[in-house]
Symmetry: none
Subunit: 128 residues, 4 copies
DNA sequence: GTGGTCTAGACCACG
DNA sequence: GTGGTCTAGACCACT
């Protein structure tokens, strides 16, 4: 479900948080879905349970999941929040892409035009 | 220089091609730079030389590098082409991001606004 | 179907690519036709399957054929593309013949006149 | 110097005649050059000397070579004739190419334009 | 030493 | 069965 890159230098718990966040925003994990228990996850990935726990705590802090003592952890049922998160996520990706495009000398008009092409479904073969 | 993810299922040669392409478009590899020889690369990554060669062949087909028998392989000196590729690359990423945003129900105005914020350097601490 | 000249020094895979390209532009292979499988071709010509595969890959890159995993390889159904390729092919042959004629001291008028004779069907028994 | 394709079905002597003709028109064989003796040629190619002889006879009939009893065979010194042959050769190739182009539906203007591009040295990369 | 071609044989995913 | 990827090792041409 989630793959960890141990050589990337990025903290494992951060990779877990981003991984789950992505799955939820994706729709791969739907509101109310139960996610694997800390122990199960630890076994699957051969990772210390404390690391998993730290990731789940952060996800709960962000209200992306909620945990019920003795039962397990579940994806938030607040679809409003998910939608909002998804939009925030897209916004930040758009912003940084735009910043990168600017740094590469691309004009604002060029950026907007590319964006509109994508929005209006001009199926230019993306680079894959 | 380039890291291969052996578990991703993506062909190694493809990861190599994309990796080098990124380094060149980045500017990490500059026009005229010599890139590691097929055999050296094979040793570094513990990959069969044929696989490296396949990647280099594809890169040469795309005019991103050129190879000289008995000498080695070099980044293209055609800065025009690099600039053009970089712009195409940004364009396609913008387009697919816009398409994804649309699929998530984001309005066109929202997209353009996020984009302008990024372009004009509003440094929203992006989450990732 | 295609004959390989092993003593020519030209790579086998290149001869295969040119051979198939010619058959398709000729019309000997029609849009949608299935071409022999990699293994069958390898047996027929007593050539390593990898070499055949390399040729097919290049043909697919040029959109002259397309391959379907588990099914086989087929001539492109894009007749537009075939027509365009055929014209490009003729153009480049005309250009290089004209360049050769010029190098041999033939006048431009002479070339155009020969060309018109051929176009208008003066069936001079050509020597070959 | 000349390679024979035994599987092509074209008579060997004809391949020899065309081969020598090409070498002379090329300039690879210059006026006055001695060409290999019938016996030497027969040994080199492992071909019956009679076949070689037949080819030489035809070449002599066309005045492309001349033979001196007891001495050997030589390329004609009549540069006028070579030039003329070369031009005839080019003419016939132009004619048949034009006929082929017409059969493929190419317009006369297109043909003439391609030809002029080649004549005036527009170095479009030829297809190789 | 370099890149380029070819062979041989393995394993996978697809149908 | 099909195509696709990868490995291993050979030989060549070039410098």
């Amino acid at each position: 479900m989630i793959r960890i890159d141990y050589r990337s230098g990025r903290p494992i718990y951060e990779q877990l948080v981003n991984g789950f966040e992505k799955l939820v925003l994706n729709g791969c994990l739907k509101p109310g879905d139960q996610i694997p228990s800390v122990r199960q996850m630890a076994l699957e990935l051969s990772i210390n349970p404390n690391t998993i726990h730290r990731a789940y705590t952060e996800l709960e802090r962000r209200s992306i999941i909620f945990s019920v003592k003795g039962r397990g952890s579940y994806v938030t049922t607040d679809t409003q929040l998910i939608r909002h998160e998804r939009e925030q996520n897209l916004r930040s990706r758009l912003e940084s892409l735009a910043a990168e495009a600017r740094a590469s000398g691309m004009s604002e008009e060029g950026i907007v035009s590319a964006l509109q092409d994508g929005y209006n479904g001009i199926e230019g073969e993306s680079k894959k």
